[in-house]
């Protein structure tokens, strides 16, 4: 299944109630619920709300009809409602297909971000939502339902184009091409939230901000997201008061699940976030109801602090120390993108007086390696920076490969930033037959009991527009990295910034092109037929390409991941 993260499906009893609540509250924010309260009308209520969003008269009529026919039997009512619904759906579809594609689609979708759209989803999506609900945790289903909802305010197939910033006016009759890459079609359900409009009212401001920061990659990386989430939740807990008539253990999990749902609509949760949330929820549900609220909250905050300290801060130190032992004088260390733990390892080794070079492989569109290059060069290490297409060159004189992880799956595969598998493969299948050891640094909090056979079933798809523009998308938060606008082929930096003194004529002409009206040849990719863009976030590296996983519990072969995971979750 496409379940993004198993995280939130914690075994808390409150989860169910949270979901039950959710669609209602969404509907409320969007459209006032219809007045009738019979069982029949509840089934068709969301449909009406959705209809209302597109064509108000229909809704008014529907309400009147249902209000007038109270005398019919339940079964008859049900049948009729069903028929009505089917007819309405067909009609709606037809309308959408006609008005569809261009402006219509855009309008529908921007509404989708708001409450009305969410309500609409409630019923365009029911079949899929239900299906999902069986396979994945209840809460998760709600989250996905929500995401789906946003997107599926537009019809599902045919003109199912997801337009975010109105794609320009095209001939309305023309059927729009599906811009989803077919193999990854199941991953597009996770359309990211664009604004904080429509967020549930329970969502804490700290979480609201965090969501946007994660969406814009201001907070990026598995560890950073995990810590930031926990800290935000700490603030949520601090400002939380248990409503009358419930207990903290029961209500706080519900309250948190609103925050989690919101976060997961900004960006799918990482494995580490999921594990941390699961641990936190488990702890909350074990709070004794007789404990006074202040004490309970204090103990929860302590739990969060100690979780961060034990599972991440101290774990990182342990990993960095033990991984640094593997670095010897004269080594050439290749690393990919910007892993915080690899950075710490390299700095630790450097402080121990080891003499080695670092070759950073980076990739578009996030350029996480730039930051790493800057930090390492500033600290005094010899750094070489190149993009992933220079891998065969960079790997030639490498002696070791250090990789960070997003997660380690139970079959020993490394799930990490897209491109990692390529680097690992280059190291293991290097021409000349001499293998370079590939070392993964990973905290046990990133271990998961899920299994990944490929990068297709479970993955995250980011906005394809990130590939189009060289500059980062307009951000709601955070700083723009101007340097990020210039993808350089290969730059060697010695102590200092890694930018070349003068841009080559080629890049200059590129820059010129970019500054003209059409910034990039791909700018109009949504309207260009036969063109699809794919912006994946992660890939799975086969276990055979990983020699060693350094964790805070010691160094392991990838095959030992499930054992350690079992032990670290049991104890």
């Amino acid at each position: 299944m496409t379940a993004p993260v198993d995280s939130t499906s914690g075994s808390t009893p409150a989860a169910g109630s949270a979901d039950a609540q959710k669609p209602n509250s969404e509907a409320r924010t969007g459209q006032p619920p219809p007045p009738t309260a019979t069982p029949t009308s509840t089934t068709s209520k969301p449909a009406k709300a959705a209809n209302g969003a597109t064509k108000p008269p229909g809704k008014a009529k529907g309400g009147a009809v249902e209000g007038g026919e109270e005398t019919l039997t339940g079964a008859e009512l049900k049948k009729r409602a069903k028929a009505e619904k089917a007819a309405r759906r067909a009609k709606e579809k037809l309308e959408r297909e006609q008005a569809g594609g261009g402006g219509g689609g855009g309008g529908g979708d921007s509404a989708g971000a708001g409450g009305a759209g969410a309500a609409g989803t409630g019923q365009t999506a029911p079949p899929s939502a239900k299906k999902g609900g069986q396979a994945m945790g209840a809460k998760e289903a709600a989250a996905i339902g929500l995401q789906k909802g946003q997107k599926q305010a537009a019809p599902r197939r045919g003109s199912a184009q997801v337009v975010q910033q109105g794609g320009g006016v095209v001939e309305p009759k023309k059927k729009k091409e599906d811009k989803k890459v077919a193999v990854f079609g199941h991953l597009y359900g996770q359309q990211r939230r664009t604004t904080i409009a429509g967020a549930a009212k329970e969502v804490h401001p700290a979480v609201l901000a965090l969501g946007l920061q994660m969406r814009d990659y201001v907070i990026c990386g598995s560890n950073a997201r995990c810590v930031a989430t926990l800290l935000a939740f700490k603030r949520v807990i601090e400002s939380y008061t248990t409503p009358l008539g419930t207990s903290l253990a029961r209500h706080l999990t519900t309250h948190l699940s609103h925050q989690i749902t919101y976060l997961s609509t900004c960006r799918p949760l990482s494995i580490s976030q999921g594990n941390a949330i699961r641990a936190l929820k488990l702890h909350i549900s074990s709070v004794d109801p007789s404990v006074p609220e202040a004490a309970a909250k204090a103990s929860l905050c302590d739990f969060i602090d100690s979780f961060i300290r034990e599972k991440i801060t101290v774990a990182d130190q342990v990993i960095a120390t033990s991984a640094a032992q593997k670095i010897q004088d004269g080594d050439v260390i290749v690393t990919f993108a910007g892993s915080s733990i690899v950075k710490q390892t390299l700095l630790t080794a450097y402080k121990q007086g080891k003499k080695f070079r670092v070759s950073i492989i980076d990739s578009r569109p996030l350029f996480e390696g730039k930051n790493l290059a800057r930090v390492l060069a500033k600290a005094g290490l010899d750094v070489q920076y190149s993009l992933v297409h220079g891998i065969s060159h960079a790997i030639k004189d490498a002696t070791k490969v250090f990789l960070g992880a997003h997660a380690m799956t139970s079959n020993g595969r490394l799930y990490s930033r897209v491109g990692t598998a390529l680097v690992a493969m280059s190291a293991k299948e290097r021409a000349g037959g001499v293998e370079i050891p590939v070392i993964v640094c990973c905290e046990t909090v990133k271990f998961t009991d899920r299994v990944a056979l490929d990068s297709i079933v479970v993955n995250e798809i980011a906005d394809a527009d990130e590939l189009v523009t060289a500059e980062p998308l307009a951000q709601v938060t955070g700083l723009m990295d101007k340097a990020a606008s210039q993808p350089e082929a290969s730059t060697t930096a010695k102590k200092g910034n890694n930018k070349p003194a003068a841009p080559s004529p080629l890049t200059e002409s590129h820059a010129g092109m970019r500054s003209t009206a059409s910034a990039s040849p791909l700018k109009d990719w949504r309207d260009t037929p036969n063109l699809q863009l794919l912006n994946l976030m992660y890939d799975a590296t086969p276990a055979e390409y990983v020699d060693m996983v350094v964790t805070e519990m010691g160094s392991l072969p990838p095959s030992a991941v499930p054992i350690v995971h079992r032990m670290s979750t049991n104890s």
Partner: protein, 345 residues
């Protein structure tokens, strides 16, 4: 044996010398493996030492372990024993109850010592256990290729051979790879490692062919299975073993012959080498020299080099190993880390 001499000299003024004890133990009992000798030496140390608190005991243990490791040129096998003993001690001390932190220290000590001895006895018995497990890997009519002076391999093969002409005897042949590195140049009379096993097997009616290391690739076509011993089994399931094992592993893999390792589970070391040159020991196997260097150096260094080569080890990575036959069962290489984690956490 310079270390032994130093140690015996030192034992005169010191009350207890761990290094000398270790070396004496190894010499006195040819059946003793390095980890067991280390554990036995530590148990003896505890009986001799007057330590009266837990932390004092642990301190003493740590210090002596470090001394021992420093004094022995290749402490990989040994460290398996010392680590295991230390771990055992700590878990015993942490356990609640009479023997826990609250209990009477003398009782704890007595318990430790008796259990330490029990452990040593069990470890010695494990060889028979392995032989029973491994018997099935030597089939009727098969040819086994082996090397080195491993006592476990010897006991397995002898077990398989059974009594001469007995009903349980497996009819098999052995190709024994004899190391040429040792004793070839200076002392011709010193027989290569493993000769003893060869004689014992021949006496039991098993046809044995001895070949030099250079003939492994040539002979492997005639062999059905490769069985080797190990000095230490490392965390990723690879083995640290006598120099020459790695190449046999590579050749066996290339020829598609199963490659089995026989090792007692107390040889599992908490060590994770990434390759040949990542072992925590200094080896001068590859020693580049020009004519000048040779003339500069006096003759004595030559003979020490030879001795070092005889003791040298290499690392056989896990992907070359089909299975490990241990006293806790027949394990795949990846199961080794599981066993180690079980011991350590």
């Amino acid at each position: 044996m310079a270390t032994a001499k130093d140690a015996s000299a030192g034992s005169a003024n010191k009350p207890f010398d761990i290094v000398a004890t270790y070396n004496n133990l190894l010499r006195s009992d040819p059946d003793l493996t390095m980890p067991i000798a280390a554990i036995e030496a530590l148990v003896l140390l505890l009986t001799h030492s007057p330590s009266s608190t837990i932390s004092e005991t642990l301190d003493l243990l740590e210090k002596s372990t470090a001394d021992l490791k420093k004094a022995i040129p290749n402490p990989i096998g040994l460290s398996a024993g010392t680590d295991l003993f230390q771990r055992y001690l700590i878990t015993t001390l942490q356990r609640p109850g009479q023997l826990g932190p609250a209990g009477d220290f003398n009782a704890i000590r007595a318990h430790l010592l008796s259990n330490g001895r029990l452990f040593i006895r069990r470890a010695k018995e494990s060889r028979d256990k392995i032989a029973t497990f491994g018997r099935g890997f030597v089939r009727d009519g098969s040819t086994v290729l082996t090397n080195g002076g491993s006592r476990v391999v010897a006991s397995l093969l002898q077990h398989a051979a059974g009594e001469k002409g007995g009903p349980s005897a497996v009819r098999f042949r052995v190709i024994y790879v004899l190391s040429s590195a040792k004793g070839n140049l200076e002392n011709h009379h010193a027989e290569p490692e493993g000769m003893e096993t060869v004689r014992a097997l021949r006496a039991a009616g098993v046809p044995v062919a001895t070949i030099p290391e250079s003939a492994v690739a040539y002979s492997l076509g005639k062999a059905d299975v490769v069985i080797v011993g190990a000095e230490g089994v490392v965390e990723n399931g690879g083995i640290v073993s006598r120099l020459g094992t790695y190449q046999i592993g590579l050749l066996a893999k290339a020829m598609g012959k199963p490659f089995y390792v026989v090792a007692e589970s107390h040889k599992f070391v908490r060590l994770y080498p990434l390759g040949q040159y990542d072992l925590p020991i200094e080896q001068h196997v590859i020693d580049f020299k020009t004519d000048e260097d040779l003339t500069d150096e006096a003759h004595p260094s030559d003979c020490t080099d030879k001795a070092v080569l005889g003791e040298a080890v290499d690392f056989t990575p896990p992907h070359l190993i089909s299975a490990l036959i241990t006293d806790s069962g027949v394990l795949t290489p990846s199961a080794v880390s599981e066993e180690l984690i079980k011991i350590w956490f």
